[in-house]
């Protein structure tokens, strides 16, 4: 009940806030259309995993970007609740801290997922990747796990921050590196060791890789034919561990 209540509020706020939907989709679309097309023509004839063109290779990375940004910012809204005092109303209610965090995580994940679906429909309609319905259905749980983990990380940061000024730091020193290291723009196999190591430590790498596997076929995955299992396993662990960490940090917040 409490989990559902918190989730419901996230939905109401999301539907009400049209600018947020546009705001988070604008940048990824520009990336896809301008950078995607630009590099697509520059990289003509270069061999990419899965044998696709560059824009199709990059598209799953941009879906990952939408999930990453949308989710972390959903988690960060805890700071705004603190600032507006609404957090006190939640904290004084007879509901467990873990159900608050779980409600928040599920709510944030749902909204991020909706945004990713909008982007995926563009990708489909404009023929960037002509994926099947089955592929879409398999992508859903994967995308859900990615968002769940990153909402939790947003909550984790938010528990430590007192005002939205800290958002910029999170943006520059967490979100951007996570995005750039995820292999959204380049294949991992030819990277220098240091960069490859960093990329393999980035949870979003497994999200983007899983999406490529599902949308472009197993040959597009860095981990090969069994890649999808590795991706799902890592992301499940990521979501579970961050949920515990987020709940712990939230619990200690006053």
């Amino acid at each position: 009940m409490a989990v559902y209540t918190i989730w419901l509020r996230e939905m109401l706020r999301f539907i009400r806030d049209k600018s947020r939907i546009l705001g988070t989709l604008g940048m990824p679309l520009f990336f896809l259309v301008f950078i995607g097309t630009g590099l697509n023509s520059a990289f003509q004839g270069i061999d990419l995993p899965g044998g696709t063109n560059y824009i199709a290779f990059m598209a799953p990375g941009i879906v990952g970007m939408v999930l990453l940004f949308g989710s972390v910012f959903s988690g960060l809204t805890v700071v705004i609740d603190k600032q507006f005092g609404f957090m006190k109303e939640i904290l004084v209610a007879p509901v467990s801290r873990s159900s608050i965090v779980l409600g928040k995580a599920l709510g944030g994940a749902t909204t991020a997922l909706l945004q990713a679906m909008i982007l995926l429909s563009f990708i489909f309609i404009f023929g960037v990747i002509p994926f099947s319905l089955n592929a879409l259905l398999l992508a859903l749980p994967l995308m859900f796990l990615i968002s769940l983990g990153f909402v939790n990380i947003g909550v984790l940061f938010a528990s430590k921050l007192d005002d939205p000024h800290g958002f910029q730091i999170v943006m520059n020193f967490f979100i951007m590196p996570i995005f750039f290291l995820s292999g959204a723009f380049f294949p991992l196999d030819k990277l220098p060791v240091w960069l490859k190591t960093l990329s393999l430590l980035d949870p979003l790498t497994y999200g983007v890789d899983g999406l490529r596997y599902i949308l472009l076929g197993s040959s597009a995955s860095f981990f090969g034919a069994d890649g999808i299992w590795i991706d799902f396993a890592v992301l499940t662990g990521f979501a579970a561990i961050t949920l515990l960490l987020g709940a712990h940090a939230f619990d200690r917040m006053q």
Binding site: T5, D81, G85, K88, E89, V92, P94
Partner: protein, 264 residues
């Protein structure tokens, strides 16, 4: 029976002792007032009793449950109207109420009925589907009061609930709250800076200064003991005439301490 009982309840913020070894007993069914100058520690006391803040030391029982170790049981029994804003401004008045009712596990039928009753009480029924960000200050305050009353708690904390409301609304709301106190046996702990309000409503009053109780009695006895006409005179007599700055610097708080020593 004491529904609130504190033993040496203390809260420190760094060097500042906001609440200093407070011993307080509130009887079931009482309307209990906390009065005191700005920064006296009233809100901090209420925050500890309502599990928003963890005490630095000492203990407190609310409705028989420990505020440190049985937070969730305490939370089930209390309602609170915060001094500072605590609404979701993006949601409508009705949605704010509904969220609250759901969090407190109210069944749908009872929830809807109570929400309508209370929104009528605070005269917001016509605005129930308007986002709270479009409410006036007084309307927001009224909504917060309505929300605090929604789930009929055993103990109700009201931290300057009527701040900024017009006299008609204040009178009207207090009548409803008094009625709740009598009919449903809700214990009420309130703070206010309106002395007449406290005089009229409270069974007993604690005057707090620098986190300590300086006087505790019924309004009548307080006036008698201090040979004062009004509660305001008692208040000024006991807490001095100086203006309190919150976060007073150390020099200022020394001056205040010196003053209270002189008064003995």
């Amino acid at each position: 029976m004491n529904i609130i009982e504190t033993k040496a309840l203390t809260k420190r913020f760094g060097d500042l002792i906001a609440v200093n070894a407070l011993d307080l007993k509130v009887k079931k069914g009482e309307v209990f007032g906390l009065l005191g100058p700005n920064g006296a520690g009233k809100t901090t006391i209420i925050s500890m009793l309502s599990t928003i803040l963890t005490p630095s030391s000492g203990s407190a029982l609310v409705s028989g449950k420990d505020v440190k170790n049985e937070r969730n049981s305490v939370r089930k029994n209390i309602g609170i109207v915060f001094q500072d804003p605590s609404l979701d401004e993006e949601l409508t008045g009705y949605e704010n109420m509904d969220f609250h009712g759901r969090l407190y596990g109210m069944e749908k039928e009872q929830r809807v009925e109570r929400i309508i009753e209370l929104l009528e009480l605070v005269d917001l029924i016509d605005k129930k589907d308007v986002p709270v960000k479009n409410y006036s200050g007084g309307m927001k305050r009224r909504l917060e009061i309505a929300r605090g009353l929604l789930h009929k708690p055993k103990v109700l904390f009201l931290d300057e609930p009527t701040l900024g409301l017009d006299p008609q609304t204040r009178r009207y709301l207090w009548e409803y709250i008094q009625n709740m106190n009598k009919k449903d046996d809700v214990t009420i702990m309130l703070t206010t800076h309106y002395m007449e309000e406290a005089d009229e409503l409270c069974d007993r009053i604690a005057i707090i200064d620098h986190g300590k109780i300086v006087a505790l009695d019924s309004p009548k006895n307080l006036k008698k003991k201090n040979k004062a006409e009004t509660l305001e005179d008692v208040f000024i007599e006991l807490t001095g005439r100086g203006i309190r700055e919150e976060n007073a610097d150390s020099k200022e708080s020394w001056k205040q301490k010196a003053r209270s020593w002189r008064r003995g």
